[in-house]
């Protein structure tokens, strides 16, 4: 469960749009897509994970963000058994709400990610432009779409992947594919962004396919719908809201 939450949060960090040829500029534009500061953002996420020999695991959650206050709330909708479970984050505090017992648990971010594979950095907004150097820019085709292929190398050890290759659509700055490499140079994960929606002048991916390159057959599809930047009521980011939804 935590892993999924983290995946959602991590995803929020990497999204795109804008048009440019300069690699640095492209990165800056890609960074800008994530930035909803000054606005609230909400969406419905559906994540389906597939592993060979196992039943698909499904999680559906509604997410609310208010970036300039570092606020975040999420309510699980699926599976039914977990319906109504909520997460609330404010600064580095995280609450978890269990509707069946109507109880909150409280922890700091450090604690809550301890037994997941996520890193603390997954939960904070990071800038691709700040974290990575562009080592090469090539032109290429992804399917039939002309793309810039940006080869990025990490500037610091703070980022999870040492090398990232981005396939960015040429005509509009849209990230279509991202390959993440390990320190040893092996491809670990490929993320595809085949569908976008336009919202508030930004191009937001609406479908993402994450392919685990180390474990054949392990894939996750993330589908985002009902994206919105409309202002949310303040009460959304309160514990009371998590309780109230379950009334």
């Amino acid at each position: 469960m935590k892993r999924i939450v983290c995946a959602v949060m991590a995803f929020v960090v990497v999204s795109t749009a804008v048009y440019a040829q300069d690699a640095k500029k492209i990165l800056a534009e890609l960074d800008a897509v994530q930035d909803f500061s000054g606005k609230d953002f909400s969406a419905l996420y559906t994540i389906v994970s597939q592993k060979p020999g196992e039943k698909d695991s499904v999680t559906q959650a509604r997410m609310f963000r208010r970036d300039n206050k570092d606020q975040f709330a999420m309510i699980i909708l699926l599976p039914e058994v977990n319906k109504g479970q909520g997460y609330l984050r404010e600064d580095d505090k995280v609450w978890f709400y269990d509707p069946t017992s109507r109880k909150f648990s409280f922890s700091s971010i450090k604690e809550s990610i301890q037994d997941s594979e996520a890193k603390g950095s997954d939960l904070t907004l990071r800038s691709t432009a700040d974290d990575y150097d562009v080592t090469s820019v090539r032109e290429g085709l992804l399917g039939k779409v002309p793309v810039w292929i940006l080869d990025l190398k990490a500037k610091t050890t703070e980022v999870p992947y040492e090398r990232v290759v981005l396939y960015v659509r040429k005509d509009r700055t849209m990230l279509l594919k991202e390959e993440a490499y390990s320190v040893s140079g092996r491809l670990m994960r490929t993320t595809l962004y085949p569908k976008y929606v336009e919202l508030d002048g930004k191009m937001l991916p609406s479908q993402i396919l994450i392919v685990d390159e180390l474990n054949p057959g392990e894939r996750s599809q993330m589908t985002m719908t009902e994206q919105s930047v409309e202002t949310l009521p303040d009460r959304v980011f309160t514990k009371a809201f998590l309780e109230q939804v379950n009334k």
Partner: protein
């Protein structure tokens, strides 16, 4: 005196059969003592080493480096100061290990398994090579840099055979994702739950995977001469280390049961603010409180048995010599009649006892060594529940030469004490009575 000794010696060689019987009895006793000694010696060593080979030592020093953002990094980049302190502390170090460890997911043909991988210096960790018995594959394979040794169960779970290449997914010490490719060089017998948890790879490759530079490592393990002294040695070493490097406060004993040193070190957090590099010292007893308890229990048992044994042997010698005296009553009478002093008679008996004891003891030790050799050949199997006292499934013995010498000395002394009474009885004999005595 020389003549007396000479006569004593000839007396022994004259009555070969009886000498053989008596000496044999002493030899048997010494043999049992030696066996127990040797067994106990290896016994505690085995218990201790079966744990310590997995944990790579009795005392552990790990380094922590403060990164920006208050993160801590587990690394020892330069151990010159540590080496210096270890040397200066004067503790008896059998050997030192340098290890790195990471927790990662091994991947092979769609199967995954999370495990700990220890990066070890294979050319230096002789104990590990002795203790970790390979069921398949060989240590020679480990010379390849990307080789790994898996436990039997781990290998079975992944379905790998020696020579298969597996992936390992882990994170560097900085938290970056990394993937390595490893070749299964060997599959080891499982020795208990501890043994199943760890896989072994080369330190160099392990460092590469977790983002450390060659020559760096995470934990220094120090194997002291004896597990029992580990705590004392640790105190001394800690004090020495504190003089040259910044040390963490030592933790009170952890009550949370078995954890690997690495898990434990990860768990530990400091409450005070600090910067730069700090070192942490821990002992195996803090990791596995039961180990020392078991060793103490075994040593106590062995000591009690030894005392009882020595007592029994002494009684045996004493009464045997009473008999010898009785048998030779006429001879003694003759000697006394011919003018041998009381002291001479006593000395003769004592010399006989001494020769007999030393001869018997040496024979006993030789016998014990032969039996030890024979017993050591029996394989009880690696999955024997008694694995903890075994060395790779074999009973093993360790007899320090000093202990063997001590045994001879003890037996000699005990014989003299035991014979003292019969000897002075003999010396007190009235020659006339002795000559007249009927058997």
């Amino acid at each position: 005196m020389k003549t007396t000794a000479n006569i004593a010696f000839r007396n022994l060689s004259r009555q070969k059969k009886r000498t053989f019987l008596l000496g044999g009895a002493i030899a048997f006793g010494v043999m049992i003592v030696t066996l127990i000694n040797g067994f106990a010696g290896a016994f505690s060593a085995n218990v201790a080493e079966n744990f310590s080979h997995l944990l790579a030592g009795h005392i552990f020093i790990s380094g922590s480096e403060k990164l920006e953002g208050n993160d801590e990094l587990s690394v020892i980049r330069d151990d010159a100061a540590l080496q210096e302190a270890v040397k200066a502390s004067g503790i008896d170090v059998r050997y030192m290990t340098r290890r790195s460890e990471f927790s990662g997911t091994l991947i092979f043909e769609g199967k995954k398994l999370r495990t700990n991988v220890a990066g070890v210096e294979l050319d230096k960790e002789l104990y590990l090579r002795q203790r970790l018995v390979l069921k398949e594959g060989s240590w020679d394979n480990m010379s390849q840099s990307q080789a790994i040794i898996l436990s039997e169960k781990t290998a079975a779970r992944l379905g790998v055979l020696v020579g298969d290449r597996i992936l390992v997914q882990t994170q560097t010490v900085y938290g970056q994702n990394n993937v390595g490719e490893l070749t299964v060089a060997g599959i080891s017998y499982d020795s208990g739950i501890l043994g199943q948890m760890v896989s072994y790879a080369s330190l160099a490759y392990c460092n590469e995977l977790i983002g450390l530079a060659p020559g760096e490592y995470q934990s220094m393990g120090i194997l002291t001469a004896s597990l029992k002294d580990a705590d004392k040695a640790a105190d001394i070493l800690y004090a020495k280390l504190a003089e040259s490097v910044s040390m963490f406060e030592r933790q009170a004993k952890d009550e949370n049961g078995a954890v690997t040193p690495f898990q434990r070190m990860v768990r530990e957090q400091t409450k005070e603010e600090w910067a730069g590099v700090r070192y942490r010292l821990a002992t195996i007893n803090e990791m596995l409180s039961q180990v020392q308890q078991i060793v103490v229990a075994l040593d106590t048992a062995a000591a009690v048995i030894l005392v009882v044994l020595f007592l029994i042997i002494m009684v045996g010698i004493a009464n045997t010599f009473s008999m010898v005296m009785f048998e030779r009553i006429r001879e003694i009478g003759t000697m006394r009649a011919m003018g041998v002093q009381r002291g001479g008679v006593r000395a003769m008996f004592l010399f006989e006892a001494l020769f007999l004891a030393i001869g018997g003891a040496v024979a006993g030790i030789v016998l014990a060594l032969i039996i030890m050799g024979a017993i050591s050949l029996i394989n009880f199997g690696m999955d024997s529940p008694a694995f903890i006292i075994l060395k790779n499934g074999h009973l093993s013995f360790f007899l320090p030469p000093a202990k063997a010498l001590l045994n001879i000395a003890i037996i000699a002394a005990l014989s003299l004490v035991a014979v003292a009474r019969p000897a002075s009885n003999a010396a007190r004999l009235d020659p006339a009575v002795a000559l007249r005595t009927q058997k």
